[in-house]
Amino acid sequence: MESRIPDIVADLSEIESRIHDLRETLLANLVMISEIPAPTFNERERVEFILDKFTESNLQNTSTDETGNALGLLPGTEGDRNILLVSHLDTLFSEKIDHSVSVESNRITGAGIGHNAVGLATLTVLPMILEKLEIKLKSNLILMGSARSLGKGSIGGIRFFLSNTKYPIKAGICVDGVKLGKISHSSVGMMRFEITFDLPDDYDWKRFGTIGAIPTLSEIVTQIQQIPIPNKPRTTIILGSMECGTAFNTIPTEGVLRFEIRSESEEMVNNLKYKIQNIVAEVSSIYGIDISLNIIAQRKPGGIPFSHPLTNCARNMLKHVGIKSWIQPDTSELSAFSDKGIPAITIGMTRGMRRDQIYEHVEIDPITKGLIQLIGMIVSIDRGDCDES
């Protein structure tokens, strides 16, 4: 069943002209947010910026919590339901890299711009947009910049919030910068690992035939690649990064291998984990070296079905704004919602390139369609169109 497009977004050219000025405010906030470094566990300065913007928009309960989330509440006229919008605060980039942003006629370039400064900037202007469009929601709208999302953060911010909030959440939207058209309604099972190799300086290299961290970790990589991966349930092992070595002529005694298992099946994730544990134990015993395998983060598979009214609503809104939708499983904040049995969805706001690179860029023009999509979804959720019958 197709959900009804809310009247407020029915006339695209009218709503585009009404929110145009605020799109400029969004761009300004996008630039300023992007230029504040926010590596995972060090999001404080970005939190202050977001909270200032929430306060200026007269949100209530603007506050942070034990994990460093940035929170604000737009009270609804009835307030018996709560909709949570979330974008993560942290980036993959350290404070040391150049965070300056450049703005061209139709694109903005900078580290972490699409992942996820666009999402955060959207949250900062959303209250102004709703006010300008004279949209008065019955539900409370909770806006959240979530801390400790990436890497070892393991979506700690949203998990903490959902476990401790006194506001029961009716539905959630994860606002992602890139890519407009993406709909994530299910989260895949995920387990993230770090293998570390660390030898004492007095290790006797002649005894066991190994020549340092690189061949040892390479041996593990080779064996991981030989594990048969099924097509169904869809499963993958992502070998993300390997760090070791400092010079041409020095045998590295330390090394780190980071990788991730993703699968639609939790059982498959666990099976692969056991296989990799065996590989590490075997290589460790052959060379007589302590190699540690640590689980850094994990998610259970879950989410809402493709036919859920919330997914339908997202598809219809994208069709309405003339954007082709596609389905993509997610491992981000969506997992925290599905763990709690809360219907939620991840959507993108614009197009972009070079995700997670220093020179990532996002396009400016599509942001308007992203905003219209988001407004339509909030209004639809608020009036109950996305409830399961």
Partner: protein
């Protein structure tokens, strides 16, 4: 005015003015209009960000600025298109006062802004600032709004390389420290507390801007300081610490050209103020050298520091602003 007293009373930090609501309220109470002028030449990489930030933060969110204009010297890239796409008023310097023969130089753009823009205060911001922030504008215009006697506000910046607690290095760039500060110390000691006399960011009241001549090249900032000082005294100045400014660093060879132009503007004024006596003519060719293996090649650069007269002497300006009296001259 005692320079130490001036330093204490007329030196500010931008954070003192971050309450934009109060600032805008006072600006409106005083009936002031404020224009921002960004002079450009091939700045497509940085201009977009400046326009987006200033327009959103200082026009939409807090209406401190009444006008945001880019005055361009003839960029060959997309500077003007980019600026216009984000809502700036864009002008080609050559199109302003078309009956006056056009000249190329940053000072030319600044001078023509006085004719083209409407503000009672004009704030000039360079287009190459990588860490642009609204403080670059409100930090400069605020002293003009709060203190009626202040007419000209200069920016200064931190240049932190390494320092220990308690001592914070504050100074200008290389040209300031090896040229301007020694010259000021010799001839205009009252002006030495101006920490960065060559900074390209300043806000000025129209009554001052229209009354002073404008070198169109490197000497514009130096000549402003000397002319304003001569006419209104040290008390007309204020300066604001804008923290860090990240921008392109200039090669030493370019600084030589800059110093050469500045010296011309300085010497002209020092002579007019009867502090030195020059011969009738001095060279306007800067000689620099570069080596090719063991051969040394001379490079001659003609730098003539041309000046525009005070805008108030231009008939088109007098007509536009309905100024009836005869110009008083400087």
């Amino acid at each position: 005015m005692n320079p130490d007293k001036w330093l204490k009373n007329n030196t500010f930090h931008h954070s003192e003015f971050s309450d934009l609501k109060t600032l805008v309220k006072l600006k409106e109470k005083k009936g002031l209009k404020i224009s921002l002028c960004i002079p450009t030449l091939n700045e497509e990489k940085t201009i977009g960000k400046e326009i987006v930030i200033f327009k959103s933060e200082l026009m939409t969110r807090a209406p401190l600025l009444d006008e945001l204009a880019v005055i361009d010297s003839g960029s060959e890239d997309r500077t003007l298109e980019t600026a216009a796409s984000f809502g700036a008023d864009t002008y080609l310097a050559a199109d302003i006062l078309p009956n006056i023969e056009a000249k190329r130089g940053k000072g030319e753009n600044l001078w023509k802004a006085i004719y083209q823009l409407k503000g009672d205060i004009i704030v000039y911001i360079d287009a190459d600032i990588k860490n642009i922030h609204p403080r670059f504008v409100y930090g400069l215009v605020a002293p003009l709004i709060y203190k009626d006697e202040v007419k000209y506000v200069k920016a200064f910046y931190d240049r932190p390389l390494a320092f220990t607690d308690g001592i914070r290095p504050s100074g200008g760039g290389r040209v300031t420290e090896i040229l301007i500060r020694p010259l000021f110390s010799l001839f205009y000691p009252e002006l030495t507390p101006i920490i960065q006399p060559l900074s390209g960011e300043y806000a000025v009241k129209r009554e001052v801007l229209e009354s002073i001549p404008f070198p169109i090249g490197y000497g514009v900032e130096t000549s402003h300081l000397l002319d304003v000082y001569k006419q209104w005294g040290l008390q007309a100045f204020a300066q604001t610490d804008l923290d860090q400014r990240v921008h392109r660093n200039q090669p030493t060879r370019d600084l030589g050209k800059m110093a050469f132009g500045i010296l011309q503007a300085f010497l002209k004024r020092a002579e007019a103020h009867e502090l030195i006596k020059l011969k009738d003519h001095y060279a306007q060719v800067l000689k620099q050298y570069q080596a090719h293996n063991n051969n040394y090649e001379s490079i001659e650069i003609h730098i003539r520091e041309e000046e525009r007269p005070p805008m108030i002497e231009i008939p088109e300006y007098r007509k536009k602003y309905n100024i009836k009296d005869q110009p008083s001259g400087t």
